[in-house]
């Protein structure tokens, strides 16, 4: 049995982008791009990270290469030439050159990630020159060999990026990335900018290179098919957190988190006789802004299986009521959400009555949000609705190697 050695460990990794406001430029809020992420990647595996825009997966990839400085711990465990294993902490001030050599990234858009004024041969040679690996004729031979390994050849040496197609350019990026024989490669949406038939070729290339060089991949994509093709394990991200992480088959056969279920159900099928759309779980609303994510479980406002404990707050009730009041009525009431409370202030007794009626109707309909209400107080012109405090949901183990962040399974 192959021993599972960890190649990189992430502990409580956070990346918040401060939002400054006001004349003095004080911090007003944080965009929580990556919000307390903990997991490990094993040597030789491909971990797929899937999620939709704004979930933080690209930010996570860049944190792993120290392109962004983040909070928390990221530790690489690499085997040196003399056989010993050494720990490299990424939080250090300067990333040691040794580590830089061995972790690389492939970006989404090959046209953007290559200097448009450089020839292909210079682009591929650049990492070799920067790390002093080869010179002169030896350099040229290495470059040609790298190009051949990715399916290009000598004629491509003297071309500018704009003379090549997207697929060819992505291969140039790959050649450049593997030039220094890295152990770990972050693939950030590597096929999103490419055509369907070219995507297949590039995915095959990645597969082949992994077999040949024993590299470990972190594959980031919003395309489930790409993730599925290469990944051994899959992590699903939503609003900066990992909501589910499991081996590939387990996730596809039995997805546990409601978001994963919705995501998988929305994937268009390529068989018109078994269309996905009629039975797809359609999520209401849009992905909330990572500026002020929902409390408790970040997915609760849209979750199709939500219940009382999921972290209801004032904002949810105010959104509910806003949709059901007419514009005139909305003008007469002021709703002030404050964390787990909602304050409704109105001088118009009709509007107040309508709000109370809506809440009552909601209760009777069995809506989870109303079941969660702790109490409703009336003070003069105000109505105060209180929900219980809730904490954010952590990943918990369910079965072998399968973790979910969902209160349905606690």
């Amino acid at each position: 049995m192959r021993k599972l050695t960890t190649i990189v460990e992430l502990k409580n990794v956070k990346k918040y982008f401060p939002v400054v406001g006001g004349i003095f430029g004080r911090k007003v809020a944080d965009i929580r791009a990556v919000d307390d992420v903990t997991f490990s990647i094993r040597k030789g595996e491909t971990l797929g990270v899937v999620g939709e825009s704004g979930c933080g997966k690209s930010t996570l990839g860049r944190c792993l290469l120290r392109m962004l400085k983040c909070d928390g711990q990221i530790v690489y465990h690499l085997t040196l030439k003399n056989g010993t294993r050494e720990k490299f902490e990424l939080a250090a001030k300067n990333v040691p050159m040794e580590l830089r050599r061995r972790i690389q990234i492939i970006h989404q858009d090959p046209y953007d990630s290559l200097d448009p004024r450089m020839l292909v041969k210079d682009l591929v040679a650049e990492p070799l020159i920067a790390h002093g690996v080869a010179k002169g004729k030896e350099l040229r031979d290495r470059v040609i060999e790298l190009l051949k390994q990715v399916g290009l050849g000598e004629p491509h040496l003297y071309r500018y990026p704009h003379e090549l197609s997207g697929g060819q350019l992505q291969r140039v990026c790959v050649a450049r990335a593997i030039a220094l024989k890295p152990d770990f490669l972050v693939l950030d949406e590597p096929t999103s900018a490419l055509d369907v038939s070219v995507q297949a070729q590039i995915l095959e290339l990645f597969d082949e290179l992994q077999d040949r060089f024993g590299m470990t991949y972190l594959l980031i994509s919003h395309n489930m098919a790409v993730i599925d093709y290469l990944s051994d394990r899959i992590a699903v991200m939503y609003l900066g957190k990992i909501v589910e992480i499991a081996p590939r088959e387990d996730l596809l056969k039995a997805p546990l988190h409601p978001y994963t279920q919705a995501l998988l159900s929305a994937i268009p099928s390529t068989n018109p006789e078994q269309r996905a759309l009629p039975t797809a779980i359609l999520l209401e609303g849009d992905v909330p802004s990572p500026l002020n994510p929902p409390t408790g479980c970040g997915f609760h406002p849209r979750c199709q299986k939500v219940f009382e404990k999921c972290g209801w707050e004032g904002r949810d009730l105010s959104a509910y009521l806003t949709l059901r009041l007419t514009p005139d009525e909305l003008e007469k009431v002021r709703m002030t959400p404050n964390g787990f409370q909602l304050l409704l202030s109105t001088t118009d007794s009709q509007v107040r009555q309508k709000c109370r009626d809506l809440i009552e109707k909601g209760r009777q309909s069995g809506n989870a949000m109303f079941k969660a209400i702790l109490n409703i107080q009336e003070q003069g012109n105000d109505v105060k609705v209180e929900f219980p405090d809730a904490e954010s949901v952590e990943l918990m183990s369910v079965g072998s190697d399968h973790q979910v962040a969902c209160l349905l399974y606690s």
Partner: protein, 300 residues
């Protein structure tokens, strides 16, 4: 040296640039004008042979009034106080204009790039300081500065060059800083950093070459505008020694005679200035068309 295969793609780009140039007839006109002036500047000693040790002083034809164009003085003379032969002045003025333009624009571009790229690339407080300094220089009016400098340094071409360079470099600094700010955020710069390439290498090998295009366009446009400024200074009598073969000076010599019908003193140098500036403007536009990232095939 570049091998044959290395040259091929660069030649292809050059051919594409020529294709874009040919597509626009005005650019060809611009090129033609400038080529004409360059030829004129070279051939000055043959076309208008000097008759004194310093060829940049116009030969004097003393007369009370400006003499109209005649076989001896094809563009006429200017009478009091300069007594210049206009034809000579216009021809040799071409040389002076080119020299001034090249030196001033050259110096301004160099200083501007130095200041602008350091400010743009390093950012933060350095950027703030350098840009405030640039703003101060921006605020200086060229004419007043020239007058102050003359009173301090005396006359001569060096004064003109100094004054105009000081006033001209902030424009380039600001321009390249803006471009660098844009290029700095590009993905390929990030990729270079991720590869472990050092910052100063990134600045010189990747950032600067990709930011330089707008500077080239502005520089070529400014070649014409500089001459407008030097001619204005000359017209006001600032900086140059009287009697120098410079378009502005010659025009100033005709100042008093404008209403008396001596049109040749101002018209001929005026046409020279017009054509020169027009040529560089058209050329600058042509450069902008070639370098415009939307119409280019790749290297923006």
């Amino acid at each position: 040296m570049l091998s044959k295969e290395e040259l091929r793609p660069r030649l292809k780009e050059a051919r594409f640039a020529l294709y874009r140039l040919k597509a626009n007839p005005l650019s060809i006109l611009g090129i033609g004008i400038i080529v004409f002036f360059v030829a004129l500047a070279f051939l000055a000693p043959f076309v208008a042979p000097p008759n004194q040790p310093d060829p940049y002083k116009t030969p004097k034809v003393v007369s009370y009034q400006p003499l109209p164009p005649s076989p001896e003085n094809p563009f006429g003379t200017s009478g009091m106080p300069g007594y210049s032969d206009i034809y000579y002045g216009v021809i040799w003025g071409t040389r002076i204009s080119f020299m001034l333009a090249v030196v001033i624009v050259g110096l301004a571009v160099t200083i501007g790039i130095l200041v602008g790229s350091v400010a743009g690339y390093l950012g933060g407080k350095v950027d703030e300081m350098l840009m405030r300094m640039t703003d101060i220089f921006f605020a200086l009016p060229s004419l007043l500065l020239a007058m102050v400098l003359i009173s301090v340094l005396g006359r001569g071409m060096m004064v003109v060059v100094t004054a105009l360079t000081i006033v001209w470099w902030p424009g380039f600094a600001r321009l390249i800083r803006a471009e660098i700010l844009r290029v700095k955020e590009s993905l390929y710069i990030e990729a270079a950093r991720a590869m472990g390439i050092r910052e100063y290498v990134i600045l010189f090998r990747h950032v600067l070459p990709n930011s330089i295009s707008p500077v080239l366009v502005l520089a070529s446009l400014d070649m014409g505008r500089v001459v407008l400024s030097t001619a204005s200074l000359g017209f006001l009598g600032l900086g140059f020694d009287p009697g120098t073969a410079e378009w502005g000076i010659i025009m100033s010599e005709g100042r008093n005679w404008l209403l008396h019908g001596a049109w040749w003193v101002t018209i001929f140098p005026g046409i020279a200035i017009l054509a020169y500036v027009l040529g560089w403007n058209l050329l600058g536009d042509a450069f902008r068309d070639i370098l415009d990232p939307r119409t280019r095939r790749g290297m923006a």
